[in-house]
Amino acid sequence: MLLDSHTARAWYRQMRLIRVFEERAAQEYAKGHIGGFCHLYIGQEAVAVGAFAALQPQDHIITHYREHGHAIARGMDINGVMAELFGKATGVTGGRGGSMHLVDKDLHFWGGHAIVGGHLPIATGIAFGLKQQGGDGVVLCIFGDGASNIGMFHESLNLAAVWKLPVIFLCENNRYGMGTAVARASAVTNIRDKAQAYNIPGTDVDGQDPEAVYETMQNAVSHARAGKGPVLVEAETYRFVGHSMGDPERYRTKEERKEWQDHGDPINRFRRSLEERAIVTAEEFAGMDAEVDQQVEAAARFAHESPFPAGETLHRHIYVESAGGQP
């Protein structure tokens, strides 16, 4: 792929931003500033960055709970995301949703969702809405390998195929659903092959390579945008950290993880490739690294300094307020 220097820098910077953001989130979690479940995306950054680069502003996204990287790749304000992790009033849901439920309707980012598979049927509805209303937008629906075994996956792909809905089902196959390796839970170990059951295209891509993800996603998006119906894309990737915080990781060996970290780190790989191709210089990398560090530092400061939501806000938005706001 011919990558111009401007795009290359933007992608590198975004991958680094996701990584540094999450490393900081892990530190803040350890200090007790973040609570509950916090599912990190470390190791999978190239999937988000490559995939979101293939989207347009009129496109829509719905995703699962491992979504910090997706939110950042779509351009969600990282101050608001960090503040959300802290449960602060300035967070993207005012502290209601936390790490697993980032949202920004203006960006057409329809939420992280934490019931495994629960958002796939909703993705078909967003796509149906787009199609009925005649726009040329498409929906990107992201989930994990484990989610491809739940009934909602199958119901959604079938419905989307029968109705030729403009949705790209992007499965991030990071090899495990919690501690269950793909082959222990799925009769079909190439998730993309599940597309055959619904007579739609299924492709796989190296999820550690943002350029490959971008190209594959470009094709998938064109297919959906052209009215040809849904596509299933499987990005092969790996989670470098535990499922959530405090995972004893009894289900894999340290060697396996180290192998991926040493040879499959998407950020190191991309950087090396850009250096070899002389697309980005060492000074440019250093400049971007420093900027990202400052940006994350500022986000953490913003989150720390923000107030917690006021108690009265608890009762808002249970019902639509223009309709009275009461049951």
């Binding site: 509950g36 479940f37 449960g87 936390g98 439920h101 009934g151 917690f308 249970i318």
Partner: protein
């Protein structure tokens, strides 16, 4: 007596029953290699092997259905549905099938499954923080057990496994590390028996599950103010053992019901109705109810803390019912 955690007590009951009866097996997400999302079945895979400790795909419907079908064939499945929020994905199998088979097929089929699941909360946000026992307790044909102490958990999980009917066994993620005494000898408790956890004569406090501890704390604090509260732990929601509640209210003439779930249409609503039906002439005050605020639970810590009642709210409700300032 030995002191053990609630987690260890459930595990002990499960282990004893698996050793006793080869037909008992466990299935669910992460029950084997991981050892259970809340570490209840840690070590079970090593002891009982992968045939009897079965990691499943993420497929709550299939987990419950497989339990039901194998139970029809004479097995004794213990299906773990990681949390009660995910258990409702299996509500069709549990509610439309397990709860119906025996009666609808005129007694020809039995369905002796146990569904273990955990309620609880702790900055997990709206979809992961629910107390949904009433969803199950509403259904005739199911038994619903909700133990609050290690001894009750040990005795009741064993009873649930031996029970010939489908039992939903609801644990609580906030109880797993709680320690208390459990008898050393084999310990079985009957399903459908409530337990008087504290004797008193001024007011009856009724609760179940984790809230029994908040209620006992409240009762202890009330004692300092001269109020002797009787605390009844229902332990089983269906079949409901109401008589001890009625007997207590006839003695104290006052009742407060304490629950972790939402107020409207909850277990407390059923209890309050039963109390007025059966103890109307004995009541000196309206039945009090303490329950969660009627909002989806938020992630943010200070907001979440406003939602779930504890001892202070129980004390306030008790005083109101006693007409004390």
């Amino acid at each position: 007596m030995s002191v053990m955690t609630y987690r260890e007590a459930v595990a002990r009951g499960l282990r004893e029953e698996m050793r006793r009866d080869k037909n008992v097996y466990i299935l669910g997400e992460e029950v084997g290699v991981w050892g259970g999302a809340y570490a209840v079945t840690r070590g079970f895979l090593d002891e009982f092997g992968p045939e009897r400790v079965r990691d499943t795909p993420i497929a709550e419907m299939a987990i419950a259905g497989c339990a039901i079908g194998s139970a029809m064939m004479g097995m004794k499945p213990v299906a773990e549905l990681m949390t009660i929020n995910f258990a409702i994905l299996a509500l069709d199998q549990i509610g439309n099938h397990a709860a119906k088979l025996h009666h609808m097929f005129n007694g020809q089929i039995t369905c002796p499954i146990v569904v273990r699941t955990a309620a609880g909360w702790g900055q997990l946000a709206a979809t992961h923080s629910q107390s949904l026992e009433v969803w199950f307790a509403h259904l005739p044909g199911l038994k619903v057990v909700m133990p609050g102490t290690p001894a009750d958990a040990c005795g009741l999980i064993k009873a649930a496994i031996r029970d010939p009917d489908p039992v939903v066994f609801i644990e609580n993620s906030k109880l797993y590390n709680r320690k208390d005494e459990v008898p050393d000898a084999e310990y079985l408790l009957p399903i459908g028996k409530s337990d008087i956890k504290r004797r008193g004569r001024h007011i009856t406090l009724v609760s179940w599950g984790r809230m029994i501890h908040e209620t006992l704390d409240a009762a202890e604090q009330l004692k300092a103010e001269g109020v002797e509260a009787e605390v009844i732990d229902l332990r089983t929601l269906r079949p409901l053992d109401f008589e001890p509640v009625a007997a207590s209210v006839r003695k104290t003439n006052r009742a407060v019901i304490v629950e972790e779930g939402w107020l409207s249409f909850g277990v407390g609503a059923e209890l309050a109705a039963r109390i007025q039906e059966e103890c109307f002439d004995h009541l000196d005050a309206p039945v009090g109810r303490v329950a969660a605020l009627e909002v989806p639970l938020p992630y943010s810590k200070p907001l979440e803390a406003m939602c779930i009642p504890g001892a202070p709210q129980i004390i306030a409700a008790a005083k109101k019912t006693l007409y004390r300032g």
